[in-house]
């Protein structure tokens, strides 16, 4: 490996100041530091030793935490396809894997390629290091889009997210909005027909059987509350001829929504897998457990409040159903915990998470035109996070000024 490092070191002068390829220094730096952690040592003064952690590792931890969701998503895309065309197979079958991988991996690749290229362009033009943030963004975006999304839309959304969500603010660490959610919102408002309706099952040109509906749990809930039917009953009626992949549950039962054998965005159908990711994030300390816990608590509380009001059938959805329907779990675990766009104070994190959960359910129930409340809730709270922090920090300042003697 020393040999490889020497080759790299030899190229270095070309990229340094005064070199022929000076412009591309940060590209070189990114490449080099991905191969070898740098030989740089601590400065003459100050801490002479440094922690083993760095931002790349931090970001990779998030990517690793998303892998359960990705793998589940791949199988589920295949599973939903085969169920839809009447060839119900066991969930973890090779068929499901191959079919899912055929449709999911291109989306992942396109998101990484588009994100990587745009990061590189900005790094060269704006002369800043390539931000590791796109490692996470490139994985997040594929997991929150339907498996039928056109690839060019993935690329466009990623570019929009990175540029408008992040780069115009100065890059990773400076952004106000969560980059992946910005990309998702862009798709939602710019290309609504490809991200709502019957898009959640990749049929790959085949005709679905009559007994199969590719609607998401949230839209089923909306439809049944519209006609005045209890939502739980409505959920039980849809796809009632089909069984859940695991256990003896009906298709849209609480249990199956928890496990995630339902149509939806690629990575966010399984609450269980999101929770597995949450465990990785919390144990490694990379994601704030306060935000995750309070987001779930906020959704449950809001659901309970609506249960008590009970003015329509959507309000009567049992509060625990809100936790497993739609993208709440995925959003609470992977989106809300983005340290840059979330609240940065520990007290603020409780408030921030709680409001995300509550707003998600509020949007779902009161304005079902936007069935996916988590997206708007996270973006809205991203905007308000600095305000929450402002008041938390202000309290600290007041304590200090109270003891000033002049």
């Amino acid at each position: 490996m020393k040999f490889l490092h020497n080759i790299l070191e030899k190229q270095k002068p070309m990229f340094e100041k005064g070199g022929k390829l000076e412009k591309f220094y940060y590209l070189f730096e990114a490449g080099e530091t991905f191969m070898f952690s740098p030989a740089s040592t601590a400065g003459n003064k100050g801490a002479q030793i440094r922690d083993a952690v760095d931002l790349k590792r931090m970001m990779m931890t998030v990517v690793i935490a998303m892998i359960p969701c990705l793998i589940w998503g791949i199988f589920n895309v295949g599973y939903q396809h085969h169920v839809a065309i009447g060839e119900q197979t066991s969930f973890f079958s090779v068929d499901n894997l191959l079919f899912g991988a055929r449709w999911v991996l291109p989306i992942v690749l396109v998101a990484y390629a588009a994100g990587g290229i745009i990061e590189a362009v900005f790094a060269v033009v704006r002369k800043h290091p390539i931000n590791e943030g796109f490692l996470v963004t490139g994985m997040l975006i594929p997991l929150i889009v339907p498996p039928t999304i056109p690839l060019w839309q993935v690329a466009l959304a990623t570019i929009f997210g990175v540029v408008v969500g992040k780069e115009i603010f100065g890059g990773t660490g400076m952004n106000v909005l969560n980059v992946a959610m910005t990309a998702r919102a862009f798709l939602y408002f710019a290309y609504p027909s490809q991200i709502s309706g019957e898009v959640w099952t990749q049929l790959a040109g085949e005709t679905p059987i009559d007994a199969y509906s590719g609607a998401t749990a949230l839209s089923v809930a909306y439809d049944s509350s519209n006609v005045g039917n209890a939502v739980t009953a409505g959920l039980a009626n849809v796809n009632s001829a089909l069984a859940a992949p695991f256990g003896d549950f009906s298709f849209f039962s609480f249990e199956n929504m928890l496990i995630g054998g339902i149509p939806g965005s690629i990575g966010e159908t399984s609450t269980l897998m999101a929770l597995l990711g949450a465990i990785i994030l919390v144990v490694t300390g990379v994601g704030s457990w306060k935000i995750i816990v309070s987001a779930f608590a906020g959704a449950f509380l809001m659901g309970t409040v609506f249960n008590m009001v009970g003015a329509n059938e959507f309000m009567n959805v049992p509060a625990q159903y809100h936790l497993v329907m739609g993208g709440l779990a995925f959003g609470a675990v992977f989106m809300a915990t983005d340290p840059v766009s979330a609240s940065q104070t520990e007290t603020g994190k409780w408030i921030y998470g709680l409001l995300i959960g509550a707003l998600t359910v509020l949007i779902r129930v009161v304005n079902p035109a936007y069935p996916e409340g988590i997206m708007l809730a996270v973006l809205l709270m991203n905007v308000f996070a600095p305000l929450i922090d402002f008041y938390v920090v202000q309290a600290n300042k007041k304590r200090r000024l109270a003891r000033a003697t002049v």
Partner: protein, 455 residues
């Protein structure tokens, strides 16, 4: 009315190569240096000696133009062999070759009752002339105290929680009288309380236990529990307009000896520690000792870094460099100038991490594991991303990231409101260690302090 403070936040860095509690019998260093850069905030040092001059221990060597009365004195007697200057003739180092037998400048001696009746002015006059005044550091800013000002209280931390820190009680063995006298002198400078802060879980050494008329507080918890700044924050916090002085126990004893014996006694016991030292132990020498004699034949490897002070707040020195004025520790750590293949994702168990991000398994080693850490930065500088980490290693009611951002923005009002008066570099040194984004936190803190001083 003593206080007991139990701190939870912080992080102990348990390095290998702790100094054994014995004092080595080696030929003492023969060269000693005074470095104006050790005195934080000394902007215009004026030299009082020239190469070739003969000095005694206690002969003034330099002073700061901004604080003309306060002398920095030679630690030993001998000949000034070198005055080292850097770019723009900046004064870097004054080297003195020591005599075999140290000759002292003599100052007035006082017995116990004399000291009681001594006025503040008389005490000040002897201290500024006798070279011990720079031991007194003021907060805010962490600079040498102004002799005409009166602090609301004086703080002395009797224990050190830094990595590989010298044992305070061990290095002051036999200095009971000097320490007591030092405290008596310090009492003349404040109407408030003198606080001596001890380790709750340790034994109070005889050096401190007999001292009366002061408040003994106890602290427990991981580093930085031993930092005087943290202790001030919990006992008598600094608000805007407040002034607090801090002195190290060694400084107190040195002040005492100036009055007891009438000499500037710069002898001190220093620890030589670190994973690369063959026999880590203590040495009896003088302030500013050059380290080459001490480390000769006592190193395990070649590619090492010599640090005057501890691994968190210290300063890199050359092999023939000297320990700093305030330093009683030489840390020798491996230099980390190695590139690691895929070092950013490979599992690391032997590099201590406060974090548990993917592959950082050092938390599995348990608390008693001793680490051999090198000086590699383990990553590249980035913007602030991770949140809530600095707070976990800062046992103070302060938001370090907000404070640092206020400093970067040169926002004076916010720096003040967020607590710039309560911290100096060492108080946020752990933030620099644990920082994911590898900021030079301590330099940023100093920049902020300088802005406040000059603004």
């Amino acid at each position: 009315m003593s206080k007991i403070v139990k701190l939870k936040k912080g992080f102990d860095i348990n390095l290998a190569g702790k100094a054994q509690k014995k004092i080595a019998n080696t030929p003492p260093s023969d060269t000693f240096a005074i470095k104006p850069t050790d005195f934080v905030g000394m902007t215009r040092p004026k030299l009082l000696v020239a190469e070739g001059d003969v000095v005694k221990a206690g002969t003034p060597v330099l002073y700061d133009k901004m604080q003309e009365n306060v002398m920095v004195c030679s630690p030993v007697s001998g000949e000034v062999v070198e005055v080292k200057r850097g770019a723009k003739r900046k004064l870097l180092e004054i080297k003195i070759l020591a005599d075999k037998e140290i000759q002292y400048e003599t100052f007035q001696t006082y017995n116990v009752s004399d000291i009681k009746s001594l006025s503040r002015e008389e005490a000040t006059a002897q201290m500024v002339k006798g070279g011990v005044w720079p031991n007194i550091i003021q907060r805010p800013y962490g600079v040498i105290a102004k002799e005409e000002e009166t602090p609301k209280s004086i703080f002395i931390s009797a224990f050190d929680t830094h990595p590989l820190a010298a044992d305070v009680a061990f290095t002051l063995k036999g200095e009971e009288e000097a320490f007591k006298t030092g405290i008596e002198i310090l009492k003349k400078f404040t109407e408030g309380t003198i606080h001596i802060n001890h380790d709750l879980n340790g034994e109070v050494s005889s050096v401190f236990s007999g001292v009366e008329g002061v408040q003994h507080n106890k602290f427990s918890g991981p580093h930085p529990a031993g930092n005087v700044g943290v202790q001030i924050h919990h006992v008598d916090p600094i608000g805007k307009g407040d002034l607090v002085w801090t002195v190290t126990p060694y400084g107190v004893a040195q002040i005492g000896k100036l009055f007891n014996k009438g000499v500037y006694d710069a002898s001190r016991v220093v620890a030589v520690a670190g994973s690369e030292v063959s026999e880590p132990q203590y040495y009896k020498t003088y302030t500013g000792a050059c380290v080459n004699k001490i480390v000769e034949g006592n190193l395990k490897s070649e590619n090492v870094r010599f640090i005057s002070g501890n691994a968190l707040t210290g300063e890199k020195i050359e092999k023939d460099g000297a320990l700093g004025y305030y330093s009683n520790l030489l840390s020798v750590l491996p230099e980390g100038d190695h590139a690691d293949f895929l070092g950013w994702i490979m599992p690391k168990k032997e590099v201590l991490s406060f974090h548990r991000a993917w592959g950082l398994f050092s938390f599995l080693n348990g608390k008693n594991k001793e680490y051999v850490l090198d000086t590699n930065t383990n990553g590249e500088p980035r913007a602030f991303v991770e949140t809530g980490v600095f707070e976990k290693v800062t046992p103070m009611d302060i938001y370090p990231v907000y404070l640092l951002k206020a400093i970067l923005a040169e926002d004076y009002d916010n720096m003040e409101a967020l607590g710039i008066y309560e911290v100096i570099e060492e108080d946020l040194a752990l933030c620099e260690y644990v920082d994911v984004s590898k900021h030079d936190v301590q330099q940023m803190v100093r920049n902020g302090i300088e802005l406040m001083q000059n603004g």
